[in-house]
């Protein structure tokens, strides 16, 4: 297996155009598990760790650009945590310190698991995914980017560059159900944003449908909102929980999140 390490975004795009079957590697917290257990054996890996353009986050005309290489540890602290509190809360629930130091939001989008914890808070904030290839750039709203269980719309030559969000600064929270606090894949999860400015409640939930899903309603629909959220789910029975439990848990989480945000 070849490993190539581009130093710039342009170089990364050229390499991926030449080697469309190659796999990008950022934090490696998903890819290395697959390699270690021989679940995938791509012909080549493109190591993105040295591409400075993918790191950190920046401001752009009131919006935030979160680099694909932004780690959970970075999303948990400083000014970014103040601007995106639900994303910071979600980041705190990911894995362990070791995982949060390496795992990235770009990797979470690349894996596109319905249990991806960065996804609900980003979806509730109307995030747009910026992708690029040697052919040019695309801006894809997150709900259109995620198309199924571990499936997104990336073409083989495309890279995720960043995620653009216009922070609502709405009262918001993230909650996750799992058997313990550390190191759990969510049984279900929920980000709630009570957008007083727009008069809107927005909830995005994970692990209860093939993709993370968004539900919105007017602010005065507070009473019926937990039922609306539970009704929008299409969960399955699996080792982590039953469909009925997930639907129930989402209803409870939505109620609690409303209390927290509208106290």
């Amino acid at each position: 297996m070849d490993v190539v390490t581009p130093r710039t975004l342009d170089e990364a795009l050229c390499l991926k155009a030449e080697l469309p079957q190659a796999r990008f590697l950022q934090g490696g917290t998903d890819v290395l598990v697959e390699l270690n257990f021989d679940r995938s054996r791509p012909p080549a890996l493109v190591n993105l760790n040295e591409v400075a353009e993918l790191r950190g986050w920046s401001r752009e005309n009131g919006a935030l650009l979160l680099g694909a290489g932004l780690t959970y540890a970075e999303a948990m602290r400083g000014a970014l945590a103040d601007e995106m509190p639900a994303l910071a809360e979600a980041s705190r629930t990911v894995g362990s310190p070791q995982i949060r130091n390496r795992g990235t939001i770009g990797g979470n989008l690349g894996t596109a698991s319905p249990a991806g914890d960065a996804l609900p808070p980003l979806l509730a904030e109307g995030a747009v995914v910026l992708v690029a290839s040697v052919r040019g750039e695309r801006r894809i709203p997150l709900d259109a980017f995620l198309v199924g269980v571990k499936r997104n719309v990336l073409e083989p030559d495309e890279i995720i560059v960043s995620v653009r969000v216009e922070p609502s600064r709405a009262p918001q929270t993230f909650m996750k159900v799992g058997p313990r606090n550390a190191m759990v894949i969510s049984v279900c999860s929920l980000a709630l944003h009570a957008d007083l400015a727009r008069g809107e409640l927005r909830a995005a939930f994970g692990s209860a449908a093939p993709t993370v899903r968004l539900v919105s309603a007017p602010l005065d629909a507070r009473e019926s909102f937990p039922d609306l959220v539970a009704g929008a789910a299409s969960p399955i029975d699996d080792v982590r929980g039953t469909a009925a439990y997930r639907r129930h848990a989402l209803r409870v989480l939505a109620g609690r999140a409303l209390e927290r945000c509208l106290a």
Binding site: M1, G28, L45, N47, P97, Q98, I99
Partner: protein
């Protein structure tokens, strides 16, 4: 492929296969057997090392990603025969039974005390949540961390 990294202050060069983890490189290529291999999926923390000063699971870093970078393993903590104060505290507190988890826990504890010199029990629980121990029941590990913080 060839990779070159600084391990415990020493420049090391080695051949590696592309798909190898940093843990494999450390253990099998460089003979540093301190970092343990148990789950190879980020769950147990027994392979914890510092990569450019950041706590990571060596089993989830590709060896090639460490090329040109700086790694500290448990072997790099002691000063000759003098144990690091965290290692000393683990011994004194009786926080070591079979010892399999110990290198990872010691490295994670060093990392914790670097940023938080006197952590509370909750902070310790959070910082060490990525490290599993099958033997001690963790009580002695808390003692060891507090002991190291006070030493």
């Amino acid at each position: 492929m060839k990779i070159a990294l600084t391990v415990n202050g020493e420049c090391r060069e080695t051949e590696a296969w592309g798909g190898e983890s940093l843990l494999y490189v450390l253990r099998e290529r460089l003979g540093l057997l301190g970092s343990k291999n148990a789950c190879e999926q980020g769950e147990c923390g027994s392979c914890s090392v510092l990569l450019d000063g950041v706590l990571v699971c060596a089993c989830l870093v590709l060896g090639a990603q460490a090329d040109g970078h700086v790694v500290t393993t448990v072997e790099g903590l002691a000063d000759g025969d003098r144990l690091h104060r965290v290692q000393e505290a683990y011994v004194q507190a009786g926080a070591v039974q079979c010892g399999f988890c110990t290198p990872g826990l010691v490295v994670a504890t060093v990392d914790l005390l670097e940023s938080n010199p006197s952590p509370s029990d909750d902070e310790i629980r959070e910082a060490l949540s990525g490290n599993l121990c099958r033997c001690t029941g963790y009580a002695k590990i808390f003692d060891a961390v507090h002991r190291a913080a006070m030493s």
